[in-house]
Every structure is written in C-alpha cells, then in structure tokens.
Amino acid sequence: MKARKLLLWGILTGLIAAALAYFGNPKNMAICIACFVRDISGSLKLHQAAAVQYFRPEIVGFVLGSFIISIAKGEFRSTAGSSPMIRFFLAMAMMIGALVFLGCPTRMVLRMASGEISAWIGMIGFVGGVATGIFFLKKGYSLGRSQITKKGSGLVFPVIFALAFAATLVFPQKFAFSESGPGSFHAPWLISLAAGIVIGVIAQRIRMCFAGGVRDAILIKNFDLFSIVVGIFLSMTVYNAIQGEFVVRMFGPVAHAQHLWNILGLYVVGFSSILLGGCPLRQLILMGQGSSDSGVAVLGMLVGAAVAHNFGFAASPAAAATAEAAAVAGGPGVPGMIAVVVCIVFLFAVGIHGTKREA
C-alpha cells in the first residue's frame, strides 16, 4: 500500500480515537494500549490501584477485529513456538517501561498531539530503543521460528478474552471498576467495543505498528508504517486544537516531566517492541490472527502491569499546585528507577542471546 493511502487510514484511526475521547475516554489516553491493558489487569484484581481498574472494551475490540478479519481473509494461522517465555518477560519489561513513562507509543503520539513537551522529549528514548533493537537485528537477532499448531491454540485466547469481557457485563460485581481517576472515564461500552473492532480490522489490514513505523524508516528507508503514525498524530492534533485542548506545556493530565525517566521508560518500550517484533498494539493484533507467541506477550503485559503497580514501579503523575495542595513533581520512585535499569540490562541480555546461532 502506498504511504499516502496509509496516511489516510492513520487519519481515520486518529478520528476514531478522537471520537472515543469525545464520548468519555480519558482525553490524552483515548486508545492507549498500555493504559488500557493496565486497566484490565486492575479490573481482574491483579493489582489494587483503585484509579485504574476497568475492563476496557477497546482492547477486546482490537483482538476481535483482527480475529474476524483474519478469518474472513483466510489469514488466520494458529502458530506458536518462537521462544514464548522470553516473549513473556519482554512484554513485562515493555509494560514496566510504559508505566514509568505513563503510556505506550500510542499514548506518546496522543500526548505529543496535545502539546506535551515531556512526550516529545520521551520520544528520543523511544527512537533510541528502536535503534538499539535494530542494532541487534542487523547482528542477526531472532527468537527463532514459530510453527503451525493445533487450531485451538490460536482460538483459545481471543475466545476466552471475549467471554471474560461478556462476564464483566453479566457479573459486574465480580470485577473491579474505578469510581474515580482515569479508570472511571470511559465511553459507553458498546461504542468502545465497536470502535475497537473497527480499529482492530484496520490495524490488521494495514499492519499498524508504532515501533515498526520507526524501525522500517531507519532500517529499510520505508515510510509506509510511519505514515500511519503521522496520520493519527494529525487527526488528534486537529481534534485537540478544535476542542481547545492543544496547549504547549510540560505535561498534561496523568503524566510527568521527569525527562530522564520518560526517556529511559520509552527506551525500554522501543527496544522491547523491536525484540518482540511489534509494539503493544501489534501484539494484540497478532494474537487475534492466531499467534500464541503474541498471546503469551499479552499475558506478559497483563502481569507486567500488575507487577508495576503492586511493587510501586509505575510512575506517579505530576500535578500543578492548587489552593489545597502543593505541586507534585511525579515520576517514578526509587523502585521504578531500579526496575527500568534492570529491564534495560535484561533487554541487552536477550538481544545478545538472540544473535547467538543455535543448531
């Protein structure tokens, strides 16, 4: 597909994200994958952070959209076996990095589109992480081949995920739902689910990937995937401008301006995305089209989110001073800082391991 056509698909995706923000999703999160997986983790009571618990229908929609369209197009393949346990921990690291920055690459772009300088600075880390991943790819990095498996292996996660979502509608009292904070802001569930399915279909067809966009631009000078990201950025910027929410500032709601940790958090996200073969969104889409390896990565993201909150790795948002409270700088605490450094060491270890040839 030509870059110009992909730009239009990106713009359309951005418009859907803007619509979700309009209908009630947190404004500068809209469709943040890391935030929403974290919310689902909370809804399942894997962590107890009361402000971020909601079984986000968008995430279910992304998986279902990819699932439906890949079956319709004959592209569904039940595969597994490309170092699943390494992928699990790579995804955990990806999530921890995202929760130190407070957002995945999707939210980075959405925050950039609302004028947040901290997100633009954080992007340096994301590009750096992708570049480090490319260094290992050029050295021959691979997690090995996946194989065709029994159909059930690819079907089981999308089906159970959809059933779990249905269970939140039938037995809401069994799940946790935020009463205040970001988790309490959401569009009506049917709109969220429908929007998620549409984006899932689009993302599967055009291979939408935030890390892939930067990777292909650097690695093979191909700007196809990158133009999708530009499209999303453009429509969110216009939406923010119309809504009067485009304000050049250090940080917006649920964000912080600890630049070093924004850069390092996103460095972990970019690096791990390349080692995994795709950003958080791409993992959901690949799982929908039958990859158990990506399914394991999604589990890693759910657990990573839980660990990040249970052990205090996630950054706290900054806040300006009010009449009642002093300003809060926000950012990660010491445990979060240590976690980021450990993640970086782990990613280098995986990178080096992946370049070793095995029989």
Binding site: S82, L137, G278
Partner: protein, 67 residues
C-alpha cells in the same frame, strides 16, 4: 536461490530477502507463512526492480521474485 522465512517475526523476513537481493540473485523463491510478511516482501522486491509471482503451498505462501 531459495529463502525460507516461515515462522520468523517482523522484520526478519524482509531482511533475509534484502540480503538475497543484495547478493545479486536473478531469481529468488521465498517461502512464507504469514500474510503480512508476504505484503512486506512483495513491496520490497517490487521497489528493488523484481517481478513477483504469488502462489500458495499448503498452509504456506510462495513468492517467486524475478529480475
């Protein structure tokens, strides 16, 4: 020349085909397992002046790239 990229994660399929193209091969047969890799490899080959023929082989895809 034959390149088997079945089961490899992105962007390994394109990188392996790129290496084959750099080696100057006139005809490259690529065996793939994922539809998205087919699209990537096809685009890359066309951009580098190859004609591409597409076929399927059981569960897999077969691309023949010719200069």
């Amino acid at each position: 020349m034959e390149v088997d990229v079945r089961g490899l994660s992105c962007p390994e399929p394109v990188m392996q085909v790129a290496a084959a193209i750099r080696s100057g091969a006139e005809e490259i047969v690529v065996l793939l397992s994922e539809a998205h890799s087919v699209a990537n490899v096809k685009n890359y080959a066309i951009e580098h002046g190859y004609r591409v023929r597409e076929a399927t082989k059981g569960f897999d895809y077969l691309l023949t790239l010719e200069k």
